[in-house]
Symmetry: D2
Subunit: 340 residues, 4 copies
């Protein structure tokens, strides 16, 4: 920690701050500048109390941390990239994985047809919402338990591991029983009790970035899971909320690049939610591959105009097949391969 | 719903869209403009399926809703302002209520001293965190059950109703037993299953606005609670996340004014979290009163520099006493009174 | 400046950084922490070259400035609040000033009628756009020179000093001849050559905050003007751009409070542009007064529905008269008075 | 335009609105819904007065435009992509162009060495700032006229066309004489008088997106230039301002994809300003290529740690050479080629 004092601080001010620093378990080193005085505090910030509370002292202008707050996932401690195994599919390894499927599971026909179509086109995991967090209580909330059973049937039919979102702590066990990869949605990224509950299942977790989450907050959410002993975490960038309304969200590929440098976890990208419109899914997916993403999450529906949620951004089967062809040269340029 | 077709749409395009509109239960009225064709769809959007999915049709450029999605809390259906009773204190009536207390309950001495001090200064409810959602898993997470017991003790001692946050569905019953007003934090505003669980207790709910929630999303979150039969909802604006870093969040008083016009629920403001620094709490509180807030949430701590969370923004007792004096003329200017 | 080195930096790394620091005119003080090494650099940052470029060295993780970059307007050097004299009206003194008038000057009748109406209601300066910056080249761009003449006529008729925006460096002299207070619009806050050109006229300047300007960038824009020898600068907060669309912009009253603490200049607030709708102008104006604003800028038009620009947010004469009555108790609560 | 009336509007309300619509030159078509009444207005919005002012009528809830406001650059009128010729280099054609050079021209040695290095590595245009818009008046403001002469010398030496920013209307002629492509910086995107002045030179213009500009505002800024008869406009995305601070700005590649679909102009990307740090320039550049960018703008400096501006984000010569090698497979995957 670095403590910056207010201008014209007196010797007594400085001594008062130094005293507080020692009480908190750090060794103060004071440097008197021409205009400002600075107290550098030596000590491991992860072992002692935080000094940030000292900003409330009248003689202190600012307190600046110098260490990262996440450590279990940090590249400083884990220089090598982690690979997460989701139902036999390796995410974060040499192959780029495509997770595809409908926004919501709507019927047996819909999910089985989609599973077959996305597998044929080259997807390696099947997504589908059973429990849907919807902004309005009057919108379709998902088929729930019935959807979990349909996803299991689709897995049996096509052999694709299943990704689905869990919303409630009380649902964690049944969703974990049905899914190979548990999704935490953007709205729940800071629902730490859900994160800890999901961590306890030992299943891999797909952690979507919150709409307004800074990169370090996203990594700290992952740290919550890893701290509970579950290292199987995949980060998923899906666009952040900004002033721009031409797209549903603003895809932040800088965050993907930063996350890959800062932590050891795989990072995948969901261009469907970022774009919010089908015609932009491909260019954003290509950009994500080029920026270093380890995988993609793409919404696919047999008949998007009849979808019960997120109709505007889902690809139909033909479009998804073209999509899978179109990404190939970029996957190769990135030095990777598709699994299939 | 208004459907805007792409330029140069053909008669066949228009008929295809009209057909879809009828299938969804609406009556289409088509107006061919000089450049664009528009299909106005007559029908109650709250009774029929949404037409938003039609935006995925190639001939459609945009689909615009014309109705508000919330209805139970809307001023259109409830022109009169609702008053919420929290442990005997009326929020939304002629008196402006001040909810005060520490960010976290840290000890028996701390919470009892604070309860006495804030009551003496004129606060009418006591806040205090028992379960704390913290961005880092290494930060103080609250005293939990012990804090609930201490809050109950403080209530008994000072007679102030208790406000405290509930984080986990599994904790709802015990927190509801201890608290008079259940707080949903900003991170959980879109945790709809928690909202529904809290609604079921029948206790009043303080619903904080999410960091990136638009006003209509905030009102729809309230609608989730009211739809479950619990009309005792108080909205709380506490600043949104923007590019500005001079304050911890950006207090959005326009949202307070909009919420008061759009819905019948009381709206309170938390200047402490918006400011993130103690010296700005008073000017933001005054502004909130002037903008029409029904109450304030203010963090108070016996010794802020020793606080285990949010040290920078908490007022000490003397500052809170000055605060309560300073707000008086603005409360009067707003045509309201303080309870005490 | 504080320089934070990467973890595991060697003695050679540290010496290399210290050498650079000395070359730039500072004295390095190195503190080796348990995890990180920090180099505090003693020297006046306003006298020596910036050390921020050192962040490009591979051994450096971050460089943090510890001094404010503005100094001529800083409270550190100017503890007392400045008062700006705009055509005989004192802004920043005990009286709260109301600047009112149409978005655009549209006709002789319109501006004369508005001048009479706003003066009668208690406004002390008249605003009106002669040159309008419009997002679309197909929208009304203002009457230009004709509007300047009409504003002069209105000043002669009603005795109110004139506020109008200047867009082009080539127009500065003629606008300065016609106006008592030169407005720099939000779009031009970072048009530094225009700021310097306006500074040179010696006329007072109303500097609107840019849509995406942080407080320190706003203050540095003011510093550009003051550095040219013109201390007559008034800051104007008018809302920033955020994700929220319920209001045209998000009024940031925290920025008003911060600006008042950080610098000596008067700060006024434009609730009309922040709200973007007439019914929210009053609550935001009241909030601005309570937050400490030294004045208000309010758009008034004889018949808003016929206005050539910003129709939605302009008040008609009756509404403005009610507005002026409604602000009185809040002006008094703030310990101020209206001029009239 | 679509006008949405308030709930419970009377026949008289509707007739009043229809009357206004006719006065403005449109034909009203009224549809009475179950809850809301809507008036669709037939007429070319680019020929008649805007109806947006009607939102100020008490019976009107909202007014929604249905046409794009830009037309000269719209794909609706210009389906084919435009190619801009900048000093003999075609931007927007099959070749992807790389514009490289220092943030600021600092000395003869610096700019000549950089020109030689970037040309050798494959760049096809040379950038370099002569006039620098700096947030603080105390920072280096560029060498000005001397820099223009040095750029001309570099062009003569290496044969690369020159890109440099123009800040002041008074400088436009001399900068146009020295440069092959005139840059409008992000701070000046809404400085419409500068845009018109630059348009009049007939030189190609590189129009950077403003920090808080929506895509349609950016395209309307381009429309200002094209409306003056200069169709040689290149759009440049360089990141927008959001809450995220891990990167200097948030690169918005969705905006690139939208701009390419909406308008006929070439779009290039500046990953250096978006990233703000050298190690992220490559991944963001690769992503930009994949998203469909027609070119890149990359900052290169002989010795970044000694740079007078933007040190953190500039590549040294060796890094730029690696950069040019690294982009090759992605340029090929995008079906394009590098010029050299």
């Amino acid at each position: 920690m670095i403590i910056i004092l207010r201008p014209h601080s007196t010797d007594a001010d400085v001594r008062a701050v130094e005293q507080r620093v020692r009480e908190a378990g750090y060794e103060p080193h004071t440097i008197r500048g021409e205009v400002r005085t600075v107290v550098a505090c030596v000590g491991d910030e992860s072992q002692h109390a935080s000094l940030e509370s000292l900003v409330s002292l009248p003689e202190v202008d600012n307190v600046l941390p110098v260490q990262r707050k996440y450590k279990l996932i940090s590249r400083e401690t884990h220089p090598d990239a982690a690979v997460v195994n989701a139902g036999g599919v390796a995410i974060g390894g040499p192959a780029l994985q495509v997770i595809a499927g409908p926004c919501s599971v709507e019927s047996r026909e819909q999910i089985l047809a989609t599973a077959a179509a996305v597998r044929a086109a080259g997807a390696t995991l099947l997504r589908g919402g059973a429990f849907k967090p919807r902004t309005s209580p009057y919108e379709f909330q998902g088929l729930g338990d019935e959807a979990l059973a349909l996803l299991a049937e689709a897995r049996a039919a096509e052999g694709l591991p299943i990704v689905t979102e869990v919303l409630r702590e009380g649902d964690v066990d049944k969703v974990a029983a049905a899914a190979d990869l548990l999704q935490i949605g953007a709205r729940n990224m800071m629902n730490y009790s859900l994160l800890e509950r999901v961590a306890a299942t030992g299943k891999p977790v797909l952690l979507k970035r919150g709409l307004a989450a800074k990169v370090d907050e996203w990594l700290l959410a992952a740290e919550y899971i890893v701290k509970r002993g579950n290292r199987q975490v995949i980060l998923c960038e899906r666009g952040i909320r900004t002033f721009e309304t031409a797209t549903r969200n603003t895809l932040d590929l800088g965050a993907v690049a930063v996350a890959k440098r800062e932590c050891c976890l795989p990072v995948v990208v969901d261009p469907s939610h970022a774009a919010g419109r089908a015609d932009l899914v491909l260019p954003l997916a290509l950009a994500a591959i080029a920026a270093g993403a380890d995988g993609l999450v793409v919404e696919v529906h047999p008949r998007p105009a009849a979808a019960l949620s997120d109709a505007a951004q889902q690809l139909d089967f033909a479009a998804f097949e073209r999509f899978m062809q179109a990404i190939r040269p970029f996957v190769a340029a990135a030095g990777r391969r598709l699994s299939s």
